[in-house]
């Protein structure tokens, strides 16, 4: 099922997770679909890396590949390395581990929260039993001790009347409460890396604010790292340390959060930020200050739409929608250029390029 180039895992310079050249493709009746292609990013201890992109950009497939949770029935080809530094300080390649070793990590050292709190809890078990399950499995607690610990976890995620809630079923809880339960479940074994796949997308803004605050608090208290998958740039701005922007299965830009928002280098990132109405207002305000009142306001829009993965453009994937494209963009997919300041962008127009990531 899994094919990859072999090389021994090397130490990852104090990174908690170092993903190198990760690729995942699915074989379908219509052809091979490269959902994730040559994706490299890293997560520092205690920090949050955000993976940003639109639907179909490969964010979720990346996270499922890392967790080795892709359905076995899907004909997948996975390549690359995901070097994870575990609690003992050893670096292992998640993609190479035997299934048993992976099972010991999954839900234990690395946990995951999914987008839909409605569908990711089991409706026929009480929430206490669901939290206790991972504690019994990984921490070898007995039933009573695990349930007591489950109750403590519910208190940790600020669920009121935890003693009573522990015996309730998912349908008895609101959406925000269910997402808190999901977090309690993920946090139960004290993970060192939490993968959160659009954890607040299904929630209202006031509930989203509660959940994000909770996740931030837990991260400060435990020192865990987070891979935060989202399409919401507002959430990214406030809750990420590093950002990787994906487009059509590839990372097009990665940078520390402040640098990315202050000076996006890839035309796609620039477009994404310019699309936001609040950015448009800021631009309009400064234009008006300079040039006096302007005509009818228009939002910046990235024209066209994402190309089909079955017939990708010959060169840069973003070229058909890019306003800055030049003829050279059509000849080949640009490499991810690494800059001196640790930022990288996949665009032949980025001026500061010094060296290319192999």
């Amino acid at each position: 099922m899994t094919t990859r180039s072999s090389s021994s895992p090397e130490s990852s310079l104090g990174l908690r997770l170092d993903v190198r050249h990760l690729s995942t493709s699915f074989t379908t009746d219509e052809g091979v679909i490269p959902s994730v292609a040559d994706v490299s990013f890293s997560i520092r201890p205690g920090k949050t890396t955000a993976l940003v992109g639109e639907s179909g950009s490969g964010k979720s497939v990346t996270s499922l590949t890392l967790m080795r949770l892709l359905p076995r029935t899907a004909a997948t080809q996975v390549a690359g390395q995901a070097l994870y530094t575990n609690a003992k300080g050893d670096t292992v390649d998640l993609l190479q581990l035997p299934e048993a070793a992976m099972r010991a990590i999954r839900g234990n050292e690395i946990a995951m929260i999914f987008q839909e709190p409605m569908t990711s809890l089991n409706p026929v078990f009480t929430i206490g039993e669901q939290i206790a399950e991972s504690l019994r499995l990984h921490k070898k607690l007995d039933r009573a001790a695990a349930l007591a610990e489950a109750r403590r976890m519910l208190e940790l995620v600020e669920i009121p009347a935890a003693a009573q809630r522990v015996g309730e079923y998912p349908h008895q809880l609101s959406g925000g409460m269910r997402q808190r339960v999901m977090i309690a479940l993920a946090m139960a074994c004290g993970p060192r890396l939490l993968i959160a796949d659009e954890p607040t997308t299904a929630l209202d803004v006031t509930i989203q604010a509660q959940i994000l605050q909770l996740m931030g608090r837990l991260q400060t208290e435990t020192g865990m790292s987070m891979l935060f998958i989202t399409h919401n740039l507002g959430v990214v701005a406030h809750h990420a340390d590093d950002v990787a922007v994906m487009y059509s299965g590839r990372i097009v830009e990665s940078a520390p959060v402040r640098g990315l928002f202050a000076q996006p280098r890839h035309p796609y990132t620039q477009g994404l930020l310019a699309c936001l109405p609040s950015q448009q207002r800021k631009r309009a305000a400064s234009n008006e200050a300079r040039e006096g009142p302007i005509g009818p306001r228009r939002l910046f829009a990235i024209r066209g739409q994402v190309s089909s993965p079955l017939s990708p453009p010959p060169g840069c994937a973003f070229e058909p929608r890019c306003d800055q494209a030049i003829s050279g963009c059509q000849s080949a997919m640009p490499g991810l250029r690494l800059d001196d300041d640790g930022r990288s962008a996949r665009c032949i127009l980025t001026p500061q390029s010094v060296s290319e990531v192999s």
Partner: protein
């Protein structure tokens, strides 16, 4: 002040048993002037969509009135309503669910024309369909395709074209962007803006995305648990929200700026059940400023002048 195009007076919509109904919309009043875009914001369960549907009589109101040019839509006969629907149209949230997958675009748009006797004859109809597709930024040859052959953004354009086919005066746009990606959202926002200006449409724009509402709307109605909390011109509302709920809502939506370090305390708890809403002010259970009096009386919507209204007892708050 000219006569409003749409007037909503004391609108109520309850669902379920008469003894303990689900109060989706409770005593909501507002008006929409001709040419105006009114934003309707609130969290899930606040009654936004129910109001939109009741306005077009896709749902019948439990109580209250909806007036279109002074005519009570609740009293209109089925036949009259059908005629009126050519003036009142809707754009739906989910472009995947709101287009019939078995119909070609030509028939989806043509059906609306046929029902209202517009562009009679096949030739005239095909011409109008082509015109509509061009209007929303698609191509005339797209008429022969089925909905599944389009992306989400394109489908939403077809949904817009269908609403515009009958040359309406008033459009209810129910979260038309929430199923779309950011880069596509701005395309559709621009389309809606252009069409509104071109065809001088009046619009009720239902959304939970405050950023887009601020951009697109002239005035905003803020709802919570089926009741109006605040009404204000967009600029004033975003510059200085007066109701504690509006303040919390604005503070909770994260700004796409890492340097914005404004600190706020998120609202506690969840939206209460509309089957058993809190007594008095429905927001008091989550409000940081609630007093005992808030549990006693339902705060009336007070006119504060300059087009601003709020339903809150706490006039003493230095806001």
């Amino acid at each position: 002040m000219s006569k409003p195009l749409i007037e909503v007076k004391g609108l109520c919509k309850y669902f379920g048993a008469t003894a303990r109904p689900l109060r989706a919309v409770d005593d909501v009043s507002f008006s929409i002037q001709q040419g105006e875009t009114l934003g309707l914001v609130g969290e899930s369960g606040s009654g936004k969509s129910t109001i939109g549907r009741t306005l077009l009589r896709l749902l019948d109101a439990t109580d209250g009135q909806v007036l279109y040019r002074g005519e009570d839509l609740g009293a209109a006969s089925g036949k009259r309503m059908r005629t009126l629907r050519s003036k009142l149209q809707m754009i739906f949230q989910d472009p995947y669910a709101s287009l019939n997958p078995k119909m070609r675009v030509r028939d989806i748009l043509g059906e609306a024309l046929k029902v209202h006797g517009l562009a009679p004859g096949k030739l005239a109809r095909d011409k109008r369909v082509a015109e509509l597709l061009t209007l929303v930024g698609l191509r005339a040859e797209h008429a022969d395709r089925y909905p599944h052959e389009f992306s989400g953004g394109q489908r939403q354009r077809i949904g817009v074209a269908r609403a515009l086919a009958v040359e309406p005066e008033f459009i209810v746009a129910d979260e038309p962007l929430s199923a779309l990606d950011v880069s596509i959202q701005s395309q559709v926002v621009n389309l809606l803006c252009d069409l509104r200006d071109q065809l001088s449409l009046t619009m009720l724009f239902i959304s939970h995305d405050l950023d887009v509402v601020e951009y697109l709307c002239d005035r905003v109605v803020v709802l919570y648990l089926g009741r109006v909390m605040e009404v204000a011109p967009t600029g004033a509302l975003f510059a200085q929200p007066l109701h504690p709920y509006t303040q919390a809502l604005l503070a909770a939506s994260p700004k796409p700026d890492p340097l914005d370090s404004s600190i706020f305390t998120p609202l506690k708890g969840d939206i209460p059940s509309p089957i058993n809403p809190p007594s008095g002010c429905v927001f008091r259970t989550r409000c940081a400023h609630a007093l005992e009096a808030c549990a006693q009386t339902v705060p009336p919507v007070q006119n504060l002048g300059n087009g601003r209204f709020k339903a809150c007892l706490r006039d003493d708050l230095a806001l």
